[in-house]
Structures are given as C-alpha cells and as structure tokens.
C-alpha cells in the first residue's frame, strides 16, 4: 500500500511516500517560506520521486495537531481535498507521536515539545517501545515548569526533541538536571516519513476516515474564545 504522509504543523514542511511502511521518497524544507507556497509542489515532486503517479496512492496521512493553527489548516485542507478527489481514505497522526517515532526502541521516556508561544509548549510523554511509542500522557499545552512537574510521575532520563528544544533547552535543563537529554539537531525536526509510517499502520488496521470525518486537534481554543469564556464565567 502506497501512503502519502504530510507534515505541516510546525515551521517544517515535510512529505513522504511509504510502501507498507518502507520509505520510498521524502522531502523536507525548513526555509521560513510558508507551507502555502511549499507544500503542494513538494507533494507533486515526492510522488514523482517515488516513481508513482497519483492514482497509485492508496491512502493519505496528515499530522493533525497539535501545532501551528495555520500550518495545521494548510496540511489538513490539502490532505482532505486530495483524499476526496482521489477517493482514498485519510488518517490524522499526532504531530508529537510522529516526532517520537524514530526514537521509539530506546525504552526510555521521550518527550517531544513544540513551541506553542506564550511561554508554553505542546508536549506528550511517551515510553519508547519496539514498533510504536506508548503514550503515557498528552497532548498538553503547558509551561516548561508544569511539564517538569508532570514528568516527576516517572523515573529515569527523558529525551526531548522538537522545535521547542532550541527555545526551552536551558530552562528544562535547569528544572530537570541530568534527567534531561536532547537529541542532535538532525533528529529535532518532524518528518513526513514518520507521519506516513504511523498513517500506514492506522490505514492497514482499517482506521481510515473519509475526508469529511477528519478534523484538526488544536488542543487550545482561540484567544477570542478564551476571553469570551472568561467574561461569561464571571
């Protein structure tokens, strides 16, 4: 089964084609240009890189959150539209789980963090496990301090990765001391291949959705909704 994976939930745009989980082609850019410009030409190119034509794609996986609201919408709109026109199922993959996937077999705690601004990160806590990481907690939108408190529930070292690392590495080191480990830059960014692979497993398990069923997982309300709720609560 050929699956197209789309990742646009962070400043990175990444796409990949997997065949039964095996990566055939992948493209990634982290060039500060908007996904709106990058994404569709990258999808077109990665399908060609894989030596395929669009009718051979049998499913689409897209990272559906958490992440940048705008990025999520570009990724989801694109994925849902292609799924509709190509008449194939689509699945949503956690941005955080896709980040954790390549580190999975290490057996230790993995904590992908995304820069959520307002001094917060989007984070999930996973236990590394062969095949697929085990979700212990998340996804959360928390400050680094709150994240450290949550992590106190488990013992052992924690590997952080994701675009929240360059911003919060020092703070997390101060809070967690030697428990905190950080991956090298090369493993920091989300990958289209991980989205496609996780998506493949879901699709193979018959969990594919129609394009109308898939929705974004923003985790956070919009600021206007938060303010309105606060006003009505008083």
């Amino acid at each position: 089964m050929f699956v197209l994976g789309i990742e646009a939930a962070t400043p990175v745009a990444a796409v990949a084609i997997v065949e039964d989980g095996r990566v055939l082609a992948e493209r990634l850019v982290n060039n500060r240009r908007t996904h709106s410009i990058n994404l569709l030409p990258m999808i077109k190119a990665v399908i060609e890189d894989a030596g395929l034509t669009p009718p051979q794609i049998q499913g689409i996986a897209v990272s559906f959150g958490p992440g940048s609201f705008t990025g999520l919408r570009i990724g989801l709109t694109t994925a849902k539209t292609l799924a509709w026109v190509w008449q194939v199922p689509v699945v949503g993959v956690s941005t955080l789980e896709a980040l954790a996937l390549p580190l999975a077999p290490q057996g230790q705690l993995i904590c992908p963090i995304l820069n959520a601004r307002k001094n917060e990160v989007y984070a999930s806590i996973f236990r590394g496990r062969a095949g697929q990481p085990e979700l212990l907690k998340g996804p959360l939108a928390v400050s680094p301090r709150q994240l450290a408190e949550v992590l106190a529930e488990w013992e052992g070292q924690v590997t952080f990765l994701g675009d929240g690392v360059p911003v919060y590495q020092q703070e997390l080191s101060d809070l967690l001391g030697e428990r905190a480990l950080f991956t090298p830059q090369a493993a920091l960014l989300p990958r289209g291949a991980a989205v496609a692979e996780l998506g493949y497993w879901q699709l193979a398990a018959g969990q594919g959705l129609s394009h109308l069923e898939l929705a974004a997982q923003y985790i956070r309300l919009s600021e206007a909704e938060v303010k309105l709720a606060a006003k009505c609560g008083k």
Partner: protein, 340 residues
C-alpha cells in the same frame, strides 16, 4: 456543456462555493455564513473564522457540485480568492483550490476579491460595454475604479481611513444595534428623518476622489456620548437616517465626479454596501440627472459569495491567466496587481 468553473471564496466569514457555466449560467452558489458565530464576539474573529472554514469548505464545495448536478470531471478550472482578506481564512480556500487543481489536472485561477465583487455585475449583465466605472464599497473597501477595458483596473480614489462598511459597523455597534451594522442601519434609516441631525461630510481637498469616514464616525460617537452624559433620549431612527445620508452623499458625489472626469456613461456598484437602499436610490437619481446609467448586482450577489469569484475566474480563463501551484494568500492584495 460549456466552460464550467468552480469558484471558491473564504476571504472573511463566509465559506462559499459556486459552479458557473460560460460566465453566465449560475448552476449553484452555496454560501455558508458564520455571522451567528461572530455575532457574540461583536465582529469577525480571524482564528474562529479560519477554523470554521476548514470545517465547512468541503461540505460547501460538495453541495455546490451536487446542486449544479455536475461531477468533479465536469470542472474545467478552479477559481479561488487569494486576497485581499484575512490571511488564515484565505489560506483554507487557496489550499483546497490548489489541491483540487492538481488532483483534477485543471488550471488554477487566482482571483482578487475586489475583482470578484466587480464581476458580480457581469453575472447578470455580461453585455456591459467598456469603459466602465465601479464604486466598490464594503466592510474593508471604498474604492472608485475606472475600467477602460476588461481586466484593466485603475484606482481613482480610495478611503484614507475607515471603509464605508466599517463606519456602518462601528456606528451600529455604538448605537447598540448589533452586527453586521449595514443592513440594520439601512432598515432603521427608512423610519427616520435624514435631515434631523447635522453631520459632517468629508469631501477632502478640491477635486479629490478619495474618501474619509472617520470624522463622520467620530461625530456620531461624540453625539451618542453627549446624549448619554446629559441623559437625553436618542432618536435612533433619525440618527441612522442622518448618518446614512451623510455617508451616501459623499459616495455618490465623488462617483459622479469620477464619471464626469472619465466620460463614463455606465456606473456599477459592487460590494456589501452596494446592497444599501439609501445608496442605490440616491445614486440612481443623481446619475439619471447626469445622463448615466447605474447597474448593480442582485442583493444576494453583493455580499461575499463564490459566484462572483467564478465569474471573474471565467474571464481570466478566457485570457489564459492561470496561477501556479505555489499560489499563496496575499492579505493586502491591491486591485489590478497579480502576485503569483
């Protein structure tokens, strides 16, 4: 079947899709309004609008195809609004249009939202002959546009502060009428006396075709504040009528000056405020006296809709003016400028 264009519009708080054949046969025009959602915030909230667009865009496009009794294979091109507008909102329509154009292997057409509003006139009047003059008035714009030929837009005047529709919204909010303000003031103005209150009309320098509505808006707000301090009753109908008259007089006056200067005989109205009854009737009367004809789209095509985008897209299709798959949303796109 002729040339079938699918239009998509998501620049503000309406998610819309339309199927248009040969530029004139409107087979469907589905508009999903978010007005009830934004009402409780007192105006359009960009993030809330963008989220709704993502939820609505596919059901709306599917409904447009279904109502038009066409399938995806019948579509010859996808036309989409790529600016001006709210960037997050625009991006949903642009992403959907690009993915459709790629997956269906048909041309992608990027349409300027204002060009769409103007084109709403051609849906019912494809016979209109150039040169034409158009007054585009909406919540975001008050522009006087001269069109010597099709696709050629020359901006003669624009607002220097608030757009006309924006002034309507702000005044309506201050009067406690609610949102959106335009239709509410228009309705109330019919019961009021337009000469009851003396409000300023900003004509700016001699001969200028630019607009300014912030002084008028402030005058109304000051009037309301003073009345509140003195605990005086405000006659809302008279205030609405006087405010509307002051706005409309300036719009009409400058439009006729522009028509005279360009020697144009046909004046078009476009944009949400083109639905305003006061504006339509005063412009009709004054234009007739000046020997000009006024045309405007039917009411439901004045507010944001995808039929007008499909119509503008149709004429671009005829010219072979297609956009690449790198098309991006351009929130501050000007009329006559192409950014792709």
């Amino acid at each position: 079947m002729g040339i079938t264009i699918l239009g998509i519009e998501t620049s503000c708080d309406e998610t819309s899709a339309a199927v248009l054949e040969d530029g004139i046969t409107l087979r469907s025009n589905i508009v999903s309004s978010q007005v009830d959602i934004h009402k409780k915030f007192g105006g359009v909230v960009p993030e809330v609008a963008s989220r709704k667009h993502l939820e609505n865009v596919h059901p709306v496009i599917m409904e447009a195809l279904e109502q038009a009794k066409v399938t995806l294979k019948d579509i010859n091109a996808i036309a989409v609004t790529y600016g001006p507008g709210l960037v997050g909102a625009l991006l949903v329509g642009v992403a959907a249009a690009k993915a459709m154009a790629y997956a269906l292997d048909v041309p992608l057409i990027g349409v300027n939202h204002l060009e769409g509003h103007i084109a709403a006139n051609f849906l019912t009047r494809p016979d209109l002959e150039f040169p034409l003059l158009c007054l585009v008035v909406s919540g975001g714009h008050s522009d006087l546009v001269f069109m010597p030929h099709r696709g050629d837009y020359q901006l003669l005047g624009r607002t220097r502060d608030d757009a006309a529709g924006e002034a309507f919204d702000k005044v309506a909010r201050a009067m406690g009428l609610g949102y959106p303000g335009g239709p509410l003031i228009d309705k109330l103005a019919r019961e009021g006396d337009a000469s009851a209150l003396k409000l300023p009309r900003a004509f700016l320098e001699e001969g200028s075709l630019d607009f300014s509505f912030s002084g008028l808006k402030s005058a109304v707000l000051n009037y309301l504040n003073r009345a509140e301090m003195r605990q005086e009753e405000v006659n809302k109908a008279d205030l609405a009528a006087s405010f509307q008259q002051a706005t409309v007089e300036v719009l009409v006056e400058k439009t006729l000056l522009a028509a005279e200067r360009t020697a144009v005989k046909t004046i078009m109205l476009a944009g949400g405020v083109a639905a305003n009854g006061g504006l339509r009737s005063l412009l009709q009367t004054r234009a007739l006296a000046a020997g000009c004809t006024v045309v405007y789209p039917p009411l439901h095509l004045c507010t944001d809709n995808a039929a007008m985008i499909a119509c503008a897209g149709y004429y671009k299709y005829l010219r072979g003016d297609f956009a690449p798959l790198t098309l991006n949303a351009v929130p501050a796109l000007s009329l006559g400028e192409e950014k792709y």
